[in-house]
């Protein structure tokens, strides 16, 4: 063994049943306390001490590899046990301090795990190709159609003013339709789930896509209804394809969006 360097304890998730840990996913083990299993691994202070962690958070390659490990380990456990997933970078200095935390939150953790049993998190992000939607609306919106005809038969001066007006109308129509489609999709999917969340929209710089994100949502779905849920998402995709909407439906995820434990500060 190497000379004792200080290790920290990184917490991935908590379960109520003995978690099956896969080999080759890092040195993962569990800490048992009062009916709860905390899935953890030892991490180095040189990477995860408060100070070093802050430095590493500026390094995207580092973040990328670590968040993937975080996700993979939880997914591995999730395959045969219901998990309560923790936020990336939840770290304890000693096993005692981890156990103190487990003791403090025992009731909530057990309650959350009971609520999550037999359910899966699915994510649905909807994107919109604005130009494609515009080209449909030009043909559909009566007011815009009318304005187009008027422009064609107007003097250049009047046409200029009307064009500005037409652009305004288009903007309004786009907003109205995008809201309508987003809301309809969300309601349909919510109807097939136990709980649903709407999250912050992410800008193009982050999504790296040409189309605009118009809905970022997450659903907690009963395992028995997942097929139905996916079918509904696929139905929406087909329905709105010609209108420039693109659906990204992913899962099953660890239920990050449906834990109620938020102890800030």
């Amino acid at each position: 063994m190497e000379a004792a360097k200080k290790d920290l304890i990184y917490l991935y998730c908590v379960t109520k049943k003995v978690p099956k840990l896969k080999e080759g996913e890092g040195r993962v083990y569990f800490v048992y306390h009062q009916g709860l299993y905390a899935v953890v691994s030892k991490v180095k202070e040189s990477e995860f001490s408060a100070e070093n962690l802050k430095k590493n958070l500026a390094n995207l390659a580092w973040i990328k590899s670590k968040v993937n490990i975080h996700e993979k380990i939880i997914e591995g456990v999730m395959r045969d046990t219901c998990v309560l997933p923790f936020k990336f970078g939840t770290i304890f200095k000693t096993e005692d301090s981890l156990k103190t935390m487990l003791e403090k939150h025992m009731g909530e953790f057990k309650e959350n795990l009971e609520n999550l049993e037999g359910k899966e998190e699915w994510g649905v992000k909807i994107y919109c190709d604005i130009e494609k939607l515009k080209s449909t609306l030009i043909k559909e919106e009566a007011e815009i159609l009318k304005m187009g005809k008027e422009i064609a038969s107007s003097s250049p001066g009047k046409a200029y003013v009307l064009k500005k007006k037409k652009e305004e109308l288009m903007k309004e129509a786009l907003n109205r339709r995008i809201n309508e489609y987003g809301q309809e999709s969300f309601e349909i999917l919510r109807g097939l789930s136990i709980e649903a969340r709407i999250n912050k929209l992410l800008p193009k710089e982050v999504t790296e896509r040409d189309d605009e994100m118009i809905l970022n949502s997450a659903f907690l779905v009963d395992k028995n209804r997942v097929a139905e849920f996916i079918q509904a998402a696929d139905g929406l995709k087909v329905k709105y394809k010609e209108r420039g909407l693109n659906f990204d439906c992913t899962g099953p995820w660890p239920p990050y969006n449906f834990t109620t434990i938020k102890e800030e500060g």
Partner: protein, 73 residues
């Protein structure tokens, strides 16, 4: 007809999908070391900086940018 290709199983989802969950969702407890909300914002800012520098590189190489407009020179 479109098959259920709308579904991408978590194996090949993007880094964004993972980041969007693990950074500010999940159970939050006061561990001995935790990532603050400000840190999460910094990561997103870092992500944008990186992406824009990739964009700049492509522009310098003369690759056409999808949806890019000609900039007045």
């Amino acid at each position: 007809m479109a098959e259920a290709d709308v579904i991408t199983k978590s194996k090949d989802v993007t880094l964004l999908e993972v980041l969007d969950r693990v950074l500010d969702k999940g159970a939050v407890v006061s561990g001995d070391i935790v990532i603050s909300i400000a840190d999460v914002d910094l990561i997103y800012i870092g992500l944008k900086v990186l992406l824009s520098s990739v964009e700049t590189m492509e522009r310098l190489r003369g690759a056409p940018m999808p949806g890019a407009r000609e900039e007045p020179t």
